[in-house]
């Protein structure tokens, strides 16, 4: 479901390994990322480059993860979103609450 790409002092970079992010995998995704937050206590950068399609269940999981991170005074950053996925986040204004960057380098150079 997810793969750790990079583990630095300040953050984890993880990649979603499925192309369809939907109700079939949203609960597993949420559990895995929350486990990473609890274990590593670092901000998580999530790379969506493989995700072609996302539904409301997966968006709900993302928001639950962000709430968990903020409760730990950490953050969740999204990178590599395809246009349709980014447009859906913008439609429901989740771009106002997530930090979103084109790619990993843009995210860490802010």
């Amino acid at each position: 479901m997810i793969k750790i790409i990079k583990d630095t002092e300040n953050h984890l970079l993880i990649e979603i390994e499925v192309s369809e992010a939907n109700l079939n995998n949203s609960d597993l995704f949420k559990a895995q990322v929350i486990q990473l937050l609890d274990r590593h206590e670092k901000t998580v950068i999530i790379d969506f480059n493989k995700v072609e399609y996302i539904d409301s269940s997966f968006l709900g999981a993302l928001v639950a993860i962000l709430k968990h991170a903020i409760g730990m005074k950490l953050d969740v950053i999204l990178v590599g979103l395809r246009n349709d996925v980014h447009d859906l986040l913008k439609l429901i204004r989740l771009d106002k609450v997530f930090k979103i960057f084109g790619n990993y380098n843009d995210a860490i150079n802010v």
Binding site: Y53, S56, L59, V63, L88, I92, K96, V97
Partner: protein
């Protein structure tokens, strides 16, 4: 007017290919002057949420999606015979704006008309406290459809147990 009905059996749902089948029809039948990319994006997220709703909530064996394309309208109608939306069990007053979901980003409203149709619409909220993330809802299905559509109506027929979701996008 172009019209096509699609039926999906829950036992053989393949969300991605089911959605592509519907989008393929829409893409082929839209008038040349229509904003194709915008309409396909909206249709994709609406159909995704309609089929996801059937899988997740309704307890149904099959779902019918009916697509109608006219000169300036794209209509997507979903019919199933599963559990009705929980809104139906609440005795809302007729023609009154009822907030059914509220967070720092949106208020989603339902209005029940005298024909027992529920109409959905939403307001965007000017965020004062961007850090109040714990306030954000985690259920986006109805909101996504409401925001992608120009008109979104739900009707439950108590006699036949039919759930009918009707969405119109104007172009």
């Amino acid at each position: 007017m172009h019209n096509k009905q699609f039926e999906f059996l829950k036992s053989s749902y393949h969300l991605s290919s089911d959605i592509q089948e519907i989008l393929g029809f829409i893409n082929n039948e839209l008038p040349p002057a229509a904003p194709v990319a915008e309409l396909l994006f909206k249709a994709k997220i609406i159909v995704t949420e309609l089929l996801t709703n059937s899988l997740k909530h309704a307890g149904v064996n099959s779902t019918i999606i009916n697509v109608k394309i006219s000169e300036h309208d794209l209509s997507i109608i979903k019919i199933d015979f599963g559990n009705p939306l929980s809104l139906i069990q609440k005795n809302y007053p007729v023609n009154t704006k009822i907030p059914i979901s509220n967070d720092i980003l949106h208020t989603l409203y339902a209005i029940l008309d005298s024909g027992k149709n529920i109409h959905f619409f939403c307001d965007e909220i000017n965020m004062e406290d961007i850090l109040a993330v714990e306030n954000i809802v985690e259920h986006f299905g109805l909101l996504i459809i409401t925001k992608a559509a120009d008109k979104f109506t739900y009707h439950y027929n108590e006699q036949t147990k039919e759930n009918l979701f009707e969405i119109t996008i104007k172009f």
